[in-house]
């Protein structure tokens, strides 16, 4: 075996046989796929923008603020999330709630997603279940740092993800990214 290996040729030929077999097997699968056999896949590629891998239900994606029935935020501006946030990306300004049974309401609730580390502590810390990370939205971006700051109004408008983690609300695009 040692002598045979020194001549490369046998080893090279076995390697070529392996890759050629792989080539023709995959080629056959591609052709079968093109002819209508959908389960025959010659490649493991998922063609991303058109084709998506389902997200895990536990995935932490873009935050949203949960609404009450009247549409106002469920958040009571207790500052728990702002306090627990390791990245210090949440900024809350509290205000009086018109309803005397509810203590406070956030006048401002900004999340700087350029700083956020998606640890999910804010969701865990919230006593009112007012913030969740279940929108399924991952593709948000901006040309500026300011564009990464998402305000209360934006976060309130988001809906939870559908089956397979598909986002149901459109990706909030910051003003500086509009063409």
């Amino acid at each position: 075996m040692k002598v045979l290996q020194r001549f490369y040729l046998a080893e090279v030929l076995s390697g070529l046989g392996l890759t050629a077999a792989h080539f023709f097997r995959n080629l056959g699968r591609h052709i079968a796929h093109a002819l209508g056999r959908v389960d025959a896949r010659g490649a493991v590629t998922i063609q991303y923008p058109e084709e998506r891998r389902p997200y895990a239900p536990r995935l932490r994606s873009l935050h949203r603020l949960v609404r009450r029935e009247d549409g106002s935020p469920r958040c009571v501006a207790c500052m728990m999330c702002e306090t627990v946030c390791p990245a210090r990306c949440i900024y809350i300004v509290a205000d009086e709630h018109p309803n005397p049974e509810i203590e406070k309401v956030p006048a401002r609730f900004d999340i700087d997603l350029g700083k956020c580390v998606f640890c999910g502590y804010c969701v865990e810390a919230c006593p009112e279940d007012a913030i969740r990370m279940d929108t399924g939205i991952l593709e948000f971006s901006s040309y500026s740092r300011d564009g990464m700051i998402y305000t209360k109004e934006v976060l309130l408008a988001l809906e939870p993800a559908g089956p397979g983690g598909r986002p149901t609300s459109p990706v909030p695009i910051s003003a500086d990214r509009r063409p």
């Binding site: 040729l9 890759t19 080539f23 080629l27 490649a43 493991v44």
Partner: protein, 363 residues
């Protein structure tokens, strides 16, 4: 007069378009073939009016990209040689195919047209010389870039080229001895003989050792993996490190054109060129007694088709090698060339000589 001129022009144009188009297509073949081998899909995004056509528009898109990119020249580069180098590379690779026959004689309206761009008595030496000249472009590029890595790449290319060319030259000697001619058309004709009435006397049958040696050295001459020490993507970027835009594209194209030329040479010398087994000038004549008469034009078409498909199969094999084997280290490539391929090809010459003495020539 006009007829002769147009025939000569047509022969040259056919070879030129064949080599150029195949070379351009090879960028697509390379990407797709490697993708399919590696469970991927490969380039498929370029589209015209929504038609993607399996990514066949990518070579076009690449060409447009390269033509519109900035043509950058380093401040201390040698202006003249820096510009000349890619042209030398492409030119030598392009003209090398000229004396490779792509078919037998075509008889039309009383004329006999040899299907070969240029009929040369020293055809093999010509192809060979042009392939070797190609390294001048590489060396010029390496030297004129005023970049140490480019210079290293150029030197490596020169060293690799010499070791490969010696092995190529020595390994085809056996074929030349059997064919008794340096004219590639004659060599292909000799391969039309049959041993024992059924085995075609292709070079791969008469010279199996030379076939392996030639193909190895030929892949080395194209400067592609596993012999891409002049480029060495992961260590020195190579002789074209300072090139951008279409000049870089021309170096890449020269590599593909050389692949086509080596495949054409392999086909002509070892795979019977345009020969179709059992096809003679009048039609098929099978060893088991059957015969099918065919018109002359169809025979010629079959022969040209056989040549093209053999070239394509050889290119497929070379691509397979390129996407299977890792790169030889520089010293390993040198050792393989000088201590492996060269002595074995000399041995092959001796063996061929003894064989010819014992059994006489095939003709």
């Amino acid at each position: 007069m006009i007829g002769d001129l147009s025939i000569a022009f047509g022969r040259v144009a056919f070879v030129m378009l064949f080599v150029l188009n195949l070379g351009g297509l090879l960028t697509w073949v390379e990407r797709k073939q490697s993708a399919i081998m590696q469970d991927r899909i490969g380039a498929n995004r370029a589209s015209i009016l929504g038609f993607r056509l399996l990514g066949l528009f990518h070579p076009l898109a690449d060409a447009i990209k390269m033509l519109t990119k900035e043509d950058f020249r380093p401040a201390r580069a040698d202006r003249f040689l820096f510009g000349l180098a890619p042209f030398v590379s492409v030119f030598c690779a392009l003209v090398a195919f000229a004396s490779i026959p792509f078919g037998d004689v075509l008889r039309v309206a009383g004329r006999e047209i040899p299907l070969q761009a240029v009929t040369l008595n020293v055809g093999i030496l010509y192809v060979f010389a042009m392939l070797s000249l190609g390294v001048y472009g590489v060396m010029m590029a390496g030297w004129s870039s005023a970049n140490n890595f480019a210079l290293l790449g150029g030197q490596r290319a020169a060293a690799l080229m010499i070791s490969a060319e010696v092995a190529i030259g020595a390994s085809i000697m056996g074929i030349v001895m059997i064919g008794g001619s340096l004219n590639m058309q004659d060599i292909v004709r000799v391969q039309g003989h049959l041993f024992w009435g059924w085995l075609p006397a292709w070079g791969i049958v008469t010279q199996p050792l030379a076939f392996i040696l030639f193909l190895t050295a030929g892949i080395a001459a194209t400067k592609r993996i596993p012999f891409d020490t002049p480029e060495g993507e992961s260590e020195i970027i190579g002789y074209f490190i300072e090139y951008s835009g279409m000049k870089f594209g021309m170096f890449a194209m020269a590599d593909f054109l050389e692949t086509v030329v080596i495949a054409g040479m392999t086909t002509s010398l070892f795979l019977g060129g345009w020969q179709v087994p059992y096809l003679v000038a009048e039609g098929f004549r099978f060893p088991w007694g059957g015969a099918v008469a065919l018109p002359h034009l169809l025979v010629v078409l079959l022969q040209v088709g056989a040549f093209v498909s053999k070239v394509c199969a050889t290119i497929f094999f070379m691509m397979l090698v390129r996407w299977t084997l890792p790169r030889f280290r520089y010293d390993q490539a040198m050792r393989l060339g000088w201590l492996g391929l060269f002595p074995l090809s000399v041995l092959n010459i001796v063996l061929t000589g003894i064989g010819l003495l014992l059994w006489g020539g095939p003709a």
